[in-house]
Amino acid sequence: MDNQGVLGIFSYLDVTVNAVKKLKNEGFKNLRVFSPMPNHEIEHVMDEPESIVRFFTLFGAMLGAACGVGFTVLTSTDWPISVSAKPIVSIPPYIVIIFELTILIGALSTLLGLLINSRLRRNTPKSMYDPRFSEDKFGVMVTCAKDKVKKVEEIFNSEGAEEIKVDGV
């Protein structure tokens, strides 16, 4: 692909959001917005689908519960010792173990879901990241065909971008 990355750096949230709106109206789809904190306005304008981390959480929790049941029941029946006619498989005490494993494996799979889905380390070329994004600047990165770069720069300039960087992707 003969694509190019164009990055606009902004100091204000409202102009960042406006730039994204304009880019979307012009048909640009491959956009990334950088910000020093999570923000609902950015989330709203980007209109990304709901995070699928929740499925990792759900399946992790279900797996944890299943492990809890499996561990307790299988080990109790592995070497059954009957004490005072008490049941070999006794549900009330096992609920504690099931509960703890549900939370443990649910939380660990949420972490896995976060690491996989947020595409840490590979969602932006290194050259397109600016350290000021973790401080007080906002950034909009567009990946587009080479002949569209001018248009993107035009939009960034009209919205008052402080700096524009262009790089190969």
Binding site: Y12, L13, S35, M37, P38, T57, I97, I103, L111, N117
Partner: protein, 445 residues
């Protein structure tokens, strides 16, 4: 949050990352004695391992003494960290923002400390792994019906989940440090820890959802872990232990003591690192209100225990509580009542809640009171069981006291390392409550 209005995004980065500058003389003056006490605690432990558990003050009938007191105390201390970071996050209580990172760190280090004590308490600590269910050639499995095993699962789950929660919360802030530091080894270390975080919308989307789920998982965990710890006692048949009030009573006590510890830790940090704009009087006011609530619950529990002992008609139960208030350990009982019920009463007044010095002194009294609460529950009940022929008095030995002092030093050692290596206040979340920079607002003056 009026004190925070003059802050800007850049200043937040500047102020928080400044805390990680080279250790000062003051820091070293705290750290080195702490390290010395950890060494003394380690010496006591090794002496006990070499000589045998007999050097602990355990005497018939008290075979759970200071070690188990310390265990319950430290698990309790851990709880308010998760309360502040998870439960108050779900309730969107903004007063948590400046203090939650310190509280989370406290949680992780307190659980790390608590986890040592069941092992120290073992006669053969090198076999601690027998607590975990692992396949072995004799097909010996752990007893899942034992409350002590529930503890193993609860505490290790709590340590894992709170560590993950703590670490994930720090990723964007570690990235901010990575982007600022110049020295190569630090840059590499923070780059690895930040996992390549860039703050893109994609990352924030998944991050905020994952954080919400961690909070949702951690919330019931807070309530369950200390309930499980209380069941170590409540599931047995001993007077003073066998009671249904223990789970809520322990959870409230845990949050009560943990909040006090957060105050104990944040007051000096606020002063030393000049964080008055971040850790504001509103933060302390919010915590003090929670202390009032939990103190009332704990005070109610102290009272209702006596009522239940009397109303049950059981001479053993009533004898136990009468003994607690009037017997050989009465001084400890009344220290507990005064520190946990009487001392927090002035917090009903706003001027007291917003007076940092008074809060700091109160928090130390509450910590002392809560340690004695655990001591009273454990030791007094064991000293006076059903049979007068089996009654006895327990006194901790120097080895136990040395290990206890060492455990406090161990906790503070981790904490001192933490404030010099990781962001002690959440950079990204503080920015969330600051006014967003808008060109429109600037143009309109």
């Amino acid at each position: 949050m009026s004190e925070q209005t003059s802050l800007t995004y850049a200043k937040v980065n500047e102020d928080i990352i400044r805390m990680l500058d080279k250790p000062t003389v003051k820091w070293l003056a705290l750290f080195l004695p702490t390290l010395g006490l950890v060494g003394f605690g380690l010496f006591c432990f090794l002496y006990q391992v070499y000589t045998g558990l007999g050097v602990a003050g355990y005497r018939h009938p008290v075979f759970w003494g200071v070690y188990i007191t310390d265990f319950v105390f430290w698990v309790g201390i851990a709880h308010s960290g998760t309360l502040i970071s998870a439960i108050l996050f779900l309730f969107r209580a903004n007063f948590r923002l400046s203090i939650y990172r310190i509280a989370e760190a406290m949680t992780v280090f307190a659980v790390l400390t608590a986890g040592l004590f069941p092992i120290i308490h073992l006669g053969r600590p090198w076999f601690f792994y027998w607590l975990f269910p692992y396949p072995n050639q004799r097909e010996l499995w752990v007893n899942f019906k034992s409350p002590l095993l529930w503890d193993v699962f609860a505490v290790s789950t709590y340590l894992t989940v709170s560590s993950v929660f703590f670490f994930v919360g720090m990723i964007p802030d570690i990235a901010a440090i990575r982007d600022r530091v110049k020295e190569v080894p630090r840059k590499i270390a923070y780059s690895i820890l930040s996992l390549g975080w860039k703050g893109s919308n994609w990352e924030w989307l998944h991050y905020t959802r994952a954080y919400l789920f961690f909070a949702a998982f951690a919330t019931p965990l807070v309530l369950s872990v200390h309930s499980v710890v209380s069941w170590d006692f409540a599931m047995s048949n001993l007077p003073g232990w066998h009671t249904t009030i223990f789970a809520p009573y322990f959870v409230a006590g845990a949050i009560f003591s943990g909040l006090a510890m957060v105050i104990t830790l944040t007051v000096p940090i606020r002063k030393i690192f000049r964080l008055e704009q971040y850790i504001t009087l509103d933060n302390y006011d919010g915590m003090a209100k929670l202390i009032i609530l939990t103190s009332l619950i704990v005070g109610y529990a102290y009272g209702v225990e006596f009522f239940m002992a009397w109303y049950s008609g059981s001479p053993y139960e009533w004898g136990q509580f009468y003994y607690r208030a009037t017997g050989e350990y009465a001084l400890f009982y009344w220290i507990m009542v005064v520190c946990n019920v009487i001392v927090p009463i002035p917090l009903w007044f706003k001027s007291v809640r917003r007076n940092i010095k008074i809060l700091f002194i109160m928090s130390i009294f509450i910590n002392i009171g809560m340690w004695f609460e655990r001591f009273n529950i454990i030791v007094i009940s064991l000293s006076r069981g059903f049979d007068p022929a089996a009654w006895g008095i327990y006194k901790p030995s120097w080895v136990e006291l040395g290990i206890t002092v060492g455990s406090f030093a161990w906790f503070f050692m981790f904490f001192l390392i933490f404030i010099k290596t990781l962001p002690a206040v959440s950079i990204a979340e503080i920015k969330e409550i600051l006014p967003v920079p808008r060109k429109e607002a600037k143009d309109n003056g």
